[in-house]
């Protein structure tokens, strides 16, 4: 069981690397917005996201797994908000200033991990309350 979960965790770590590290670093580097501070922030959030993802997948049935998935949802949403500066980015280039405002997209992006978090809570609550019923034959 844990071997299968470890493989699943490895796949999710790779996906998280692409979404939460490689893509933002590439995007911010291309637009000239990357700073060492921002890179450190992205790396910090990425490490937390990866750790919580591994914990959540390995300990799915445990309360720690649920806590990890709740933390993961919050951290992912916070990460999206922090690195996009709330959906308002400013780029300056030789006297020209470009301000981009994309708040609706940021909120849409933040909604996905939060809905996933709610789904995990709902599943955990459902599993705890609905115990499987087995028919036991009683000898008379």
């Amino acid at each position: 069981m844990y071997a299968a979960r470890a493989i699943q965790a490895a796949i999710f770590v790779a996906i998280n690397y692409a979404i939460f590290f490689a893509a933002p670093v590439l995007l911010f580097s291309t637009t000239g917005l990357i700073t060492s501070e921002l890179e450190a922030t992205i790396l910090g959030y990425f490490i937390v996201i990866v750790s919580l993802t591994i914990l959540h997948i390995l300990l799915k049935d445990h309360i720690i797994g649920l806590a990890s998935s709740v933390g993961l949802g919050i951290v992912q949403a916070l990460y999206i908000y922090v690195i996009t500066k709330g959906g308002e980015l400013t780029i300056s280039y030789s006297g020209l200033m470009l301000t981009l405002n994309f708040e609706p997209i940021v909120y849409l992006m933040m909604a996905i991990p939060l809905v996933n978090m709610a789904k995990q809570i709902s599943e955990y609550v459902g599993r705890s309350s609905a115990q499987p019923i087995e028919m036991v034959e009683v000898e008379g």
């Binding site: 006297g95 020209l96 200033m97 470009l98 301000t99 981009l100 405002n101 994309f102 609706p104 997209i105 849409l108 992006m109 909604a111 996905i112 809905v115 996933n116 709610a118 789904k119 709902s122 599943e123 609550v125 459902g126 599993r127 609905a130 499987p132 019923i133 087995e134």
Partner: protein, 275 residues
């Protein structure tokens, strides 16, 4: 052991999550397509279009005309242009087109006319002095707000400078003639010349006096000249002095004391000429 069926709420959240992900992906794809189509064609139209936009500046207006935009994207495109002209710290004028919404596959022509109120410069002593005697630069700030409704709004801000020449550019004084009036006095005619290279009309009263070389605290005054020079005009006028014969010596330099009254401000300076 029998399997546990997922509760209905969990299924709902799963569908919601999938729906949001699909919505986000579709939104990003369509936005990228719209942004690419619009940016590619707008830049192409601006650079090599049949009728590129024109920017013209004169003493009363700054005009950006013939800016034609076509929305080739999937979402309505909103655009607003605003401009401001500043000279020193004085705002000469500002204007905005207001928000213009271009529906998909529609074309709009945009013009922006910025009125320039140069009379505001007349109220600022230091700025007017700078414009009269030195070349300066006017700053034009342009802001373009563009957005793909309702998802993305972008704002471009830039500024450019336009050189403004001095109002009294190349101001020189030359002794044109000295004619005897009687046994003791002469009539000296000093020519004043300058070119008004500023967009302002130079209009004021020039008082000129010549300190005596022989006697301290004595000044000879010329009749004041009413100066009126339109932009780009070369102005020539004569200052007439009545002087004792012994005051003018050939080869000597003389210092004129000048006072220029213009719009309630008096500007004083000294200028030399050679006899």
């Amino acid at each position: 052991m029998a399997g546990v069926e997922q509760p209905l709420t969990s299924k709902g959240f799963r569908f919601l999550s999938i729906g949001l992900t699909i919505t986000l992906l579709l939104t990003l794809l369509t936005l990228a397509y719209s942004a690419y189509e619009n940016l590619a064609y707008i830049s192409q139209d601006l650079v090599s279009g049949e009728s590129p936009p024109k920017l013209s500046i004169n003493s009363t207006h700054l005009t950006l005309s013939n800016l034609t935009l076509t929305n080739r994207g999937l979402y309505p495109l909103n655009i607003a242009l605003s401009g401001e002209a500043v000279l020193g710290d004085v705002n000469l004028g500002s204007a905005s087109t207001g928000e213009i919404i271009i529906p998909p596959n529609m074309l709009r022509r945009i013009d922006l006319t910025l009125p320039l109120d140069l009379t505001k410069v007349y109220t600022d002593y230091n700025l007017l002095r700078t414009i009269l005697f030195n070349a300066s630069a006017a700053t034009f700030k342009l802001k373009v707000d563009v957005g793909i409704q309702p998802f993305i709004a972008a704002s471009f801000e830039g500024s450019f400078w336009s050189k403004i020449g001095a109002g009294l550019d190349g101001l020189t004084f030359r002794l044109r003639s000295v004619e005897p009036l009687n046994d003791t006095h002469v009539r000296a005619e000093i020519e004043m010349e300058f070119t008004n290279r500023s967009p302002l009309t130079v209009n004021g009263l020039l008082h000129a006096s010549l300190p005596s070389a022989a006697q301290r605290d004595l000044r000879y005054s010329a009749s004041p000249i009413e100066v009126f020079a339109q932009p780009s005009q070369q102005y020539v006028a004569q200052l007439i002095f009545t002087l004792p014969k012994e005051e003018l010596r050939s080869g000597a330099w003389y210092g004129l004391e000048l006072e220029f009254d213009m719009f309630g401000h008096a500007y004083e300076w000294r200028a030399g000429f050679r006899v």
